[in-house]
Assembly symmetry: C2
Homo-oligomer: 149 residues x 2
DNA sequence: ATATTTTATATTGTGTACAATATAATTGTT
DNA sequence: AACAATTATATTGTACACAATATAAAATAT
């Protein structure tokens, strides 16, 4: 019975894993035109919504480790898209903000997710429906964290 | 209008990306007991279904680059789970096969996906339904590869 | 006020991902 | 048969991912 779960084509997890990588590969050439990778684009999505945030804010929204975000911010800074400054009132904090170049990228980036949406072939309703299902699943999995028996 | 797509919490792609990473993190401690990472576990899933396969067979089923699979197989070989041998009739090919240790791992691995299934809180029907939706989406995205306008 | 703990970020080390390149064997061509 | 094109795998280089550790500043405790 358990054996059926060991078949690759039965694994829901593998589907999520494959799909995620396939999406990243689809984004790659579109984002390369802007000089970004997909994770870097996610950081900019955060900043385009709220500028001047702590590093902490980014790691939490993206659910990423500092070991991932720290060097990524360094690369974004080297590329001239963001700026990093120690906070004046709390020297532990680093405030990340957009440069002019980083802000300017937003208009060019707008067509990227629209293009990806088109590739899904979804209607707006189907898109929303899938979003709801995934959000629900994520919530469920968080609740069932400890499922040992 | 396009601007709404730039909001992080509207991005279906980000949900897939987050969920995939969350699943991998959930697998990690369970697979660590077996001495495996998630991608390494995927390779073994392939071999448990069909032993003695070309490297090519693995890269295709997992949709992974040789640059990913080659070093991974080397690590699996060092860990004693698989064996690699040049094919006799075509010296270009490398045949990957399970060692006794690699085969033996299968029984211990059976409970891993069952545990993950439990965490989803899905019924068998819901599981199948989600699988169907994702398979359909992957097919759709492959068809709409070129969606430029 | 000083020692302890907590918090915010960075670094180290291992393992993917993947594009681009390299290498060697096989097949196809002339 | 000699050369070109193709095929199978490996290597190189860059960028995540993440656990574990390090570091320094702030908050708390004594």
């Amino acid at each position: 019975m358990n054996d059926a779960f060991l078949r690759l084509d039965n694994q829901l997890c593998f589907l999520f894993y494959s799909l995620s990588r396939a999406i990243t590969r689809m984004y790659a050439p579109l984002l390369a035109e802007l000089g970004l990778t997909y994770p870097q684009y996610l950081v900019l999505l955060v900043l385009w919504e709220t500028d001047n945030v702590e590093v902490n804010h980014i790691t939490e929204l993206l659910a990423m480790d500092t070991g991932t975000v720290s060097p990524m911010l360094k690369r974004l800074e080297n590329a001239g898209f963001v700026k990093r400054e120690r906070s004046a009132d709390d020297e532990r904090k680093v405030i990340v903000s957009l440069t002019g170049k980083g802000s300017a990228l937003k208009s060019g980036a707008a067509k990227v997710p629209a293009e990806l949406f088109c590739k899904t072939g979804f209607t707006m309703d189907e898109y929303g429906d899938m979003k709801k299902r995934l959000t629900h699943l994520i919530k469920k999995m968080r609740e069932n964290e400890k499922c040992a028996d």
